[in-house]
Symmetry: C2
Subunit: 469 residues, 2 copies
């Protein structure tokens, strides 16, 4: 289980002691070693205990990153990239100490090629910043993990979110990267052509590598035209299986939903309370369609028929932007709504993903598990991808409760893996899922370790994440 | 240029001499060392000279592959995987000798999960075989590189083709692989979930690695529902720029064309002669739409308007399956039609890909280059991706003509790279583009070599391809 895979590493005290004054000398006020900076840079929305870096450097450009990497490489000191701190599996912890590299000042949008539907940004640009910037171009960047994450962090975690069902994940939307590698040089993984067969796909190797292979210094992204028409709605179902079965049929029929989000009864109750709404406390789908006036209406009608077939509905459908925003705001606040169910408890946000045909079975079994054990644990999911989240509220000060939570995670992941699924659809492995990755892809770990050793021979890039060396 | 990057390697004569009798002993009649087998397995549609393997083993299952790899690894003998031999850049040549592994007998469709829109196949299954098998399920596998290539080969080359503009390339359509690595063990890169953030994206690292990192033993593919309605048509334009500009606007407006293929005047002339057709000898787009009755008609109308804006048309549009098949048959025969322009000459099929906004400029400059130099060299392109091919006919027995061909290639690739494009959209690097990959992604070559060294420490997997070690 999770916690036992968190490595409490052996620190290279000598290297760290040598590098701190060098960084101070080079970066002055942009290098901070105060407790509050260090705490802030290891604290995330994870349930895992914080492990503090020894200092935080605020980089402003690629040359800064190269210098940090060169100094840290020379002294064998870990480097932990930090975007906005919204990762969920301990990705920004520093189990071996070392230097947190904060990208909040590397937040320039370097170019927008509207004609080619692409742009290049520094890693600290957040997805909301980018979309604000793009507004006048008629384009948008679709990937939406909920949090206003940085695009560098989203790349590193292979993030996705509510509209991956239509637009794919970061792996489908990153065209090219520049990355500083262990020798302190910056490499480019690709240029701007839509497709290429030129050599190894380093772009997709770095996407999802969680900072363990190099430090991303720019991201070239695909953009989408803002749809002429967006509409959406809410549809309640008698049971969770019915809701899942409606999702499965929607996907199998090839209806190009832009979002199709599942919220179980407990999640609806939490959202009602938190966002002052009055949805029926039933398993519910939040749906969105992108297209033209005609196609959106057609898709909504088709979805309404499917919903009715599984006892759902009426499908309350709206093309009113304000109503839609309210809907998605409630969805985006699901995490905080759930935490408000029991503010005194710790929250463990986890995700698994299964083939769509197994979704109903996996979600229903998980809900039964939650009920049997009396957990407070709402379920919310990017159901169109077969991906769902459980936010388990537990008392992290009570060893027995921690043990019960860990046993639940073990069962949840075991269930997903038995269905040919994955232990994480979008949160990544970080520290929390090292054991589950081993269960899922154990045969491939030697290959992953060989790649890590080839690109990061001294294990300076985010050590202690994804797997044990 | 191409030929100077073809490595004529130092053979490990001792290892090869040791391994041949062991393979004979193990595989009997399934291991062949006769000249004709060896020639057939190095001969492809490439213009590069053949380099023969020392023997050919016909594998029938994953255990066979593991044994071949173990024997070859032990004796440091190269392994060159062979699908159908339709690669274009010398991928199946054996510059260091060694063993060709023929997958034609590993052609079982292992499973089809219609509910999840996926299937798993052995690498020797061809795309046409798969689609024939799928016909009754209402599903199809969309990637269509023209040749009836094997799915293992298409994976290894990161192939795409006519409808990548709608459905993506192999990188977007391979969900998971099993691969035999250098230690002779089989690894699994992923399971069947639609998305995952679990560890390094080994799937996409092996897609496009051209057999240099391991031997693929099964491929799990995404499938698509057969569209309710397919329609297509042909539209001639006054100039090549006009045709390209119509493509650019079609893509920028987000019209979801399923295919949009550019043929220049010379290609049309070749197709007319070869396929007994009578298209106007003008730059022409072949277009296809997938959807419902309504959406297909809408898209065709939108495209017709764009075409007219650039002086094209009339857009001859048909939903008649027979007419459509004739159209695409002519397109698929473009290679043979071009060769028939001068059957006595050698043919060099090359491809580059640029950002869509630069397509008109790149194609027009290339056509001008062809005309200035008096080449027989039709242009045909997957224009919606910014990807186009030149089939240069030249006399490979005449050193001056070879030199002129090589200089043309140099200019073509230089042009694409200067436009932030790539030296290959879909053919891969093989031997022919080693020098251009260096120009395109030189800074990333150390990282690629580190990965190669990590996964294939003794360089037994398809050595002499993609880059020089």
């Amino acid at each position: 289980m999770a916690r036992k895979d968190v490595i409490d590493g052996k620190r290279n005290e000598e290297g760290i002691a040598s590098v701190l004054p060098l960084l101070k000398q080079r970066f002055g006020e942009r290098f901070q070693t105060g407790q509050s900076f260090r705490e802030q840079h290891s604290h995330t929305t994870t349930y895992l205990p914080s492990q503090l870096p020894d200092g935080v450097v605020f980089v402003e450009n690629s040359e800064d990153v190269r210098e940090v990497v060169r100094l840290c490489a020379e002294h064998r000191v870990p480097i932990v990239p930090f975007g906005t701190g919204s990762s969920l599996e301990g990705q920004v912890n520093a189990p071996f100490g070392g230097i947190s590299v904060d990208f909040s000042r590397m937040n320039k949008i370097l170019s927008v090629n509207a004609e080619d539907l692409d742009c290049t940004v520094e890693p600290g640009v957040t997805r909301e910043d980018l979309n604000t910037y793009l507004r006048d171009t008629g384009l948008f960047f679709p990937i939406d993990p909920g949090a206003n994450a940085s695009l560098g962090g989203m790349t590193a975690t292979r993030a996705s979110g509510t509209n991956a069902v239509r637009y794919g994940t970061m792996k489908d939307n990153v065209l090219a990267l520049t990355v500083v590698t262990a020798d302190g040089e910056e490499i480019r993984t690709a240029h701007r052509a839509r497709k290429s067969s030129a050599g190894y796909d380093l772009t997709r190797l770095f996407v999802g590598s969680e900072g363990t292979l190099g430090v991303i210094t720019s991201v070239t992204l695909r953009l989408q035209g803002i749809p002429a028409k967006i509409s959406g709605g809410v549809c309640a179902f008698p049971t969770l299986e019915d809701a899942c079965n409606a999702v499965i049929m929607t996907i199998q029929m090839g209806i190009p939903v832009a979002r199709i989000e599942l919220l179980d009864e407990m999640q609806i109750r939490a959202c009602n309370a938190y966002s002052k709404l009055s949805y029926a406390e039933q398993p519910t789908l939040f749906v969105e369609f992108h297209g033209t006036e005609e196609t959106v209406a057609l898709q909504a009608a088709q979805f309404g028929e499917i919903a009715a077939e599984f006892g759902g509905g009426p499908f309350a459908y709206t093309a009113n932007a304000e109503e839609r925003n309210q809907l998605w705001k409630a969805r985006h606040n699901a995490y905080w709504a759930s935490r408000a169910l029991a503010p005194e408890l710790a929250a463990l946000s986890t995700d698994v993903c299964v083939p769509i045909s197994r979704l109903a079975e996996c979600v229903a079994a998980t809900q039964a598990d939650i009920q049997e054990n009396g957990f407070l644990a709402p379920i919310v999911g990017h159901a169109g991808d077969g991906n769902f989240h459980v936010l388990l509220l537990f008392n992290d000060k009570d060893a027995a409760d921690v043990e019960r939570a860990e046993a639940f995670l073990e069962r949840l992941n075991g269930r997903a893996l038995a269905m040919e699924g994955t232990c994480t659809g979008e949160h990544g492995i970080g520290q929390g899922k090292i054991g589950y990755l081993r269960q899922e892809l154990g045969s491939a770990l030697p290959a992953m370790r060989a790649i890590k050793a080839g690109l990061d021979p001294h294990d300076i890039f985010n050590p202690g994440k994804i797997f044990r060396l």
